[in-house]
C-alpha cells in the first residue's frame, strides 16, 4: 500500500509485475533499469536460481524526484512465474499499489497466461485487494514472435474487463516504458482520489502501528466494463461509463493511458463489495480453463516450506552481500 511519509517528505508506491514463467517480467525490469535516468534508479536486485529464473523477486527502486514537495518513489517488483512458487508469488504481491500482468503473445502459452491471470486474482483476493479497484494493466509481450496472437484475440481471451493494454517487445525495449508510465499514472490517480477523500472524510491521523489491513475496497474507482474474475456481478450495478477510452496501444502508437479518462468530480457511484459479498475463492471466469489443481502448488506443505526457506536464505545472503559490498 502507498506509504506517505511526512517526516521524510516521501511517497512510496509498490508496483508488481505478474505473469506466467518466461513471459518477460524480469526483462521488463532490466529494460527499465537500462533506460531510467542515472541518479533516478537504484540497484536492480534479483533473487534468482542459478539458472537465472526468478526465485523470490526482482527489485528495482525508481526515484521520480520531488513532486510538490514530496519525493515520489516507485518500487518495482517481479514475481516468480513458475507455478511451483505460488507461496512466494503471493508474498511479493502483498501491499502492491499497482499490477502489470505480462502476457506472452505466443498462442501456445495462452493456457499458462490464463492460469496465471486466475492465480493473480485469487492472490489479490486472498490479500484483501479488490481487483476492481487496484490499478491494473495488461502488457502483451513478445509481439514480434511469428504467429503471435492478434491483439483482438488476446483481448477476447484475456481482457473482458477492458483493462488498459500495451503491446511490447521487452527484449528490444519496445513498450516497456509505456507500460510503466501507464501503471504509474493509474497508481498516482488512485492515490490522489483516495487521499483527497480521506483528507475530507476523516480528521483522525492516518498513522497506523497496530492494525493490519489491506486495500479494502474504496468507492470511486474506475469500473471496468465487465466484471473481473472473482468479482460478483452486483445486482444493481450503476451504468458503466459509456465510452471507456480506447485501449493503450503499442509503443509505436500514441501513448495512451492518458487512457483512463480524468476522473470526473461527479463520478457515478461505484458498487461497494463487502468481504461478505466476495466469494471465498474466485470462480474462474467463463473464458478461462479450470485453475491448476491446488495440490501442485499449495497442497504440499513441505514444498512450500522448502521454497520459503530457500527464498529467505537467498534474501539473507543478498542483505549480507549488500552490507559487505558497502563496507
Amino acid at each position: 500500500m502507498v506509504q506517505i511519509n511526512f517526516a521524510r517528505r516521501e511517497v512510496n508506491c509498490k508496483i508488481v509485475y505478474y505473469g506466467p514463467g518466461l513471459s518477460g517480467k524480469t526483462t521488463n525490469l532490466e529494460i527499465v533499469h537500462q533506460k531510467a535516468p542515472t541518479g533516478s534508479k537504484g540497484k536492480m536486485t534479483s533473487i534468482a536460481t542459478e539458472g537465472d529464473r526468478t526465485l523470490f523477486f526482482d527489485f528495482l527502486p525508481l526515484d521520480l524526484g520531488e513532486v510538490a514537495g514530496m519525493r515520489t518513489k516507485f518500487q518495482l517488483y517481479t514475481v516468480p512465474g513458475q507455478v511451483y512458487y505460488n507461496s512466494t508469488r503471493k508474498l511479493v504481491l502483498q501491499g502492491a499499489d499497482g499490477v502489470v500482468f505480462v502476457a506472452d503473445s505466443n498462442p501456445a502459452k495462452m493456457v499458462e497466461n490464463l492460469e496465471s491471470l486466475n492465480n493473480l486474482v485469487e492472490n489479490m483476493i486472498a490479500h484483501g485487494m479488490d481487483p476492481f479497484e487496484t490499478p491494473f494493466v495488461l502488457q502483451y509481450n513478445k509481439r514480434d514472435l511469428p504467429g503471435a496472437l492478434s491483439v483482438d484475440d488476446l483481448n477476447t481471451k484475456m481482457n473482458k474487463w477492458k483493462l488498459p493494454t500495451y503491446e511490447a517487445v521487452a527484449v528490444k525495449g519496445e513498450g516497456v516504458l509505456a507500460t510503466l508510465k501507464g501503471i504509474s499514472k493509474l497508481v498516482l490517480e488512485r492515490l490522489n482520489r483516495d487521499y483527497v477523500k480521506s483528507a475530507t472524510a476523516s480528521t483522525a491521523p492516518l498513522i497506523k502501528g497496530g492494525t493490519p489491513s489491506m486495500g479494502t475496497p474504496v468507492s470511486g474507482g474506475a469500473a471496468p466494463a465487465a466484471p473481473r474474475p472473482g468479482q460478483p456481478q452486483p445486482a444493481a450495478r450503476p451504468p458503466q461509463p459509456v465510452a471507456r477510452p480506447p485501449q493503450a496501444q503499442p509503443a509505436a502508437r500514441a501513448p495512451q493511458p492518458a487512457a483512463r479518462p480524468p476522473q470526473p468530480a461527479a463520478r457515478p457511484p461505484q458498487p461497494q463489495f463487502t468481504p461478505q459479498q466476495r466469494p471465498a475463492a474466485p470462480p474462474p471466469p467463463a473464458h478461462a480453463p479450470p485453475p491448476p489443481a491446488p495440490a501442485k502448488s499449495e497442497g504440499c506443505f513441505g514444498m512450500i516450506l522448502v521454497a520459503a526457506t530457500t527464498a529467505m536464505l537467498a534474501a539473507a545472503c543478498l542483505v549480507a552481500a549488500v552490507l559487505s559490498g558497502t563496507n
Binding site: 508474498l91 501491499g95 479494502t216
Partner: protein
C-alpha cells in the same frame, strides 16, 4: 461513514513528522546504549520509514525490500508450523549482523551491528525500544485534529513528472 473512514485509513500507511521525530530519538538512544551501528524502521511492504545511525553507506532501499521479503517468507513458515509469526529474526555475518524485530503489526525494526557489541545487548535494547514505538503508534492512532496534508497540486504535478520521466 465511520466504516468508510476506517477503510480509507487502512488503505495506506501515513507517517507524520511529530511521531517519527519521537521514534528517531528513541532509536538514537537505543543505538547509544546497545552500541549497534544503525537502525532502520521499515514497513511490511518494504518501504523505509526512518533510519538512525551510520546508515549512509548502505543501500537502504534494497535492504528494506529484502528485509520485508525475508520477514514475509518466515511468516509463511511460521504459519505452516502453527505459529502466528516469528517476531524476531537474526542474521549473523562475519563482520556485520542484522537483528530484526516486529514492531506492532505493520513495521519492522532492523538493527545492524558488528563486534563492538553482542546480540544479547542488541536484543535487550531492541525489545525496550520496540515497546516504546508501539506506544507511539497506538497513541498516534487515537489522536484527532489537524493533520499534515499533501499539496493539492500533487496529483497534476505527479502526472507531469511521470510524463517527463518516462519519455521514450
Amino acid at each position: 461513514m465511520r466504516e468508510a473512514d476506517e477503510r480509507l485509513r487502512n488503505s495506506r500507511l501515513v507517517f507524520y513528522k511529530e511521531d517519527i521525530d519521537k521514534i528517531d530519538k528513541m532509536l538514537e538512544e537505543m543505538l547509544r546504549l546497545s552500541k549497534a551501528k544503525c537502525a532502520l524502521l521499515i514497513d511490511k511492504d518494504g518501504h523505509l520509514v526512518t533510519k538512525s545511525g551510520g546508515s549512509s553507506s548502505y543501500d537502504t532501499d534494497t535492504i528494506a525490500a529484502l528485509v520485508a521479503g525475508s520477514f514475509a517468507a518466515t511468516k509463511e513458515m511460521a504459519r505452516i508450523l502453527g505459529e502466528e509469526e516469528f517476531s524476531v529474526l537474526f542474521h549473523q555475518g562475519k563482520k556485520d549482523n542484522i537483528h530484526l524485530t516486529l514492531v506492532g503489526n505493520r513495521t519492522l525494526l532492523a538493527i545492524i551491528f558488528d563486534d563492538k557489541t553482542t546480540v544479547g545487548m542488541v536484543r535487550l535494547y531492541s525489545n525496550e525500544v520496540t515497546k516504546k514505538m508501539v506506544t507511539v503508534f497506538t497513541d498516534a492512532s487515537k489522536k484527532t485534529g489537524p493533520k499534515q496534508a499533501m499539496d493539492t497540486g500533487y496529483s497534476s504535478a505527479a502526472q507531469n513528472k511521470v510524463d517527463e520521466f518516462f519519455k521514450d
